[in-house]
């Protein structure tokens, strides 16, 4: 791959993991916590958010040079609100049940700090193509986070994932998982677990580097052995 391709590829992948909106940047928490009582709701919410994010990134990137910087936030919000209205109306017509379940959290995509944050940090400075890639990447990261959070809560809260029962009837569902408190606890534990994994890997890599580059005698000396 040429250098340019690598950087375009990176525009997409950074949102998936390195800068995952939920786990790493702690953005878009309201919908992430509120709708993830089941995996399906999480996926629907993430797809709706991605749609809004991709289209507003595209439009805002196109008109980025026309917007005076004093009123940029207001202009971004109007563009975002327009796309949210579209999503809301389409969902109400096509998926009335899903729309009822997600309730006011669909219109609240307008104030999802993830979307506004991407406009401010990326689309307002980059061309439409790269902005769309960035938006798709962030959307994918958001989808992964919401789907996994929703799956865990659904599994322990109602014994199933995506409506398919996975745990036996003998398993008493943990009511707390589908209550608000469960959302906070699950996400907190997931984030902590991920951090622990990353920390451990980093420590192992550091140990590897040390053992490769430092002469054996030095290591031995630092461990207090006679050389």
């Amino acid at each position: 791959m040429s250098k340019k391709q690598v950087s375009l590829f990176n525009d997409y992948t950074k949102g998936v993991w390195d800068q995952n909106p939920v786990f790493k940047q702690v953005l878009g928490m309201c919908p992430a916590l509120a709708v993830t009582v089941s995996a399906m709701n999480g996926i629907a919410m993430a797809l709706a958010t991605t749609f809004v994010l991709v289209f507003s990134s595209f439009i805002i990137s196109l008109i980025r040079k026309l917007i005076p910087s004093q009123v940029r936030i207001a202009s971004y919000i109007v563009v975002i609100a327009t796309f949210v209205t579209i999503v809301d109306l389409v969902m109400r017509a096509q998926f009335p049940e899903l729309s009822k379940e997600l309730g006011p959290y669909i219109p609240l995509i307008v104030v999802n700090c993830l979307i506004l944050g991407r406009q401010e940090a990326f689309s307002s400075k980059n061309n439409p193509f790269r902005s769309v890639l960035d938006a798709l990447g962030m959307g994918t990261g958001f989808l992964i986070a919401l789907a996994s959070l929703g799956a865990i809560r659904e599994l322990f809260g109602s014994r199933s994932i995506l409506g398919v029962q996975l745990l036996p009837d003998a398993f008493e569902p943990w009511l707390i998982m589908i209550l608000p408190a469960g959302a906070f606890l699950t996400l907190g534990l997931m984030m902590g677990g991920l951090n622990a994994m990353i920390l451990r890997r980093k420590r192992r890599e550091e140990a590897d580097i040390l053992s490769k580059h430092i002469p054996k005698t030095y290591v031995a000396a630092s461990e207090g052995q006679e050389v």
């Binding site: 702690v26 953005l27 928490m29 309201c30 919908p31 916590l33 509120a34 936030i73 207001a74 919000i77 109007v78 609100a81 327009t82 949210v84 209205t85 809301d88 109306l89 309730g103 006011p104 219109p107 609240l108 307008v110 104030v111 999802n112 700090c113 506004l116 707390i176 209550l179 608000p180 408190a181 469960g182 959302a183 906070f184 606890l185 996400l187 907190g188 534990l189 984030m191 902590g192 677990g193 951090n195 622990a196 920390l199």
Partner: protein
């Protein structure tokens, strides 16, 4: 009596932060110190009450008569953004100390989902004008209570020996989970 019920329901039973997950960003971002969390709560309450008044008027006097309810998201968010700007200007003119205390938090309030959420809930629950105001005051009080409690706990957490992986956001979320559990105790108090 009805009005008091609405207030208590919004402040405690259906707390915006701990039951509806609205306003999580400032709840996690600005809850480091009690001295900044409490003013943030007050500023948010103030904007909430104004939003409740203005969006109710716009919805019932403009959007409904002209049959353009589908414009509510665009119009509400514009109202919130301009209200916040307006409040910032007024406070700057009227009281310098208050501006210095609240100033940096005001722009953040625009993207606080609790504000837009409040406007949407008032429409959804078909509250009257006065009920809407009480709902706004209650929601603001609940937000202030939650963020102040959180800040108090986090000040203590600074001194605790938290595992490295859980420092910052993870432990804050877990504490919030425990707070939400505690607030569930209010659930039996009234039913609205």
């Amino acid at each position: 009596m009805e009005l008091i019920l609405i207030f208590v329901s919004a402040a405690l039973v259906n707390n915006f932060v701990l039951a509806y997950f609205l306003g999580i960003c400032p709840f996690i971002g600005v809850s480091n110190k009690l001295s900044s969390a409490f003013p943030m709560g007050l500023a948010t309450t103030f904007v909430m009450v104004l939003t409740a008044i203005v969006t109710w008027l716009i919805y019932h006097l403009v959007l409904v008569p002209y049959n353009v309810e589908y414009l509510q998201y665009v119009s509400f968010i514009l109202v919130v953004a301009s209200l916040v700007q307006f409040v910032e200007m007024v406070i700057k003119k009227v009281s310098q100390p208050l501006y210095r205390a609240l100033g940096i938090f005001l722009p953040l309030i625009t993207t606080n989902c609790a504000i837009l959420g409040l406007a949407l809930f008032i429409v959804l629950k078909e509250y009257s004008f006065v009920e809407g105001i009480f709902y706004g005051v209650g929601a603001g009080a609940g937000f202030t209570l939650a963020i102040s409690l959180m800040a108090g706990i986090r000040e203590e957490l600074e001194l605790a020996d938290v595992p490295a992986a859980f420092r910052g956001a993870p432990i804050t979320l877990i504490v919030a989970g425990l707070l939400a559990l505690a607030f569930m105790g209010f659930a039996g108090m009234i039913t609205v």
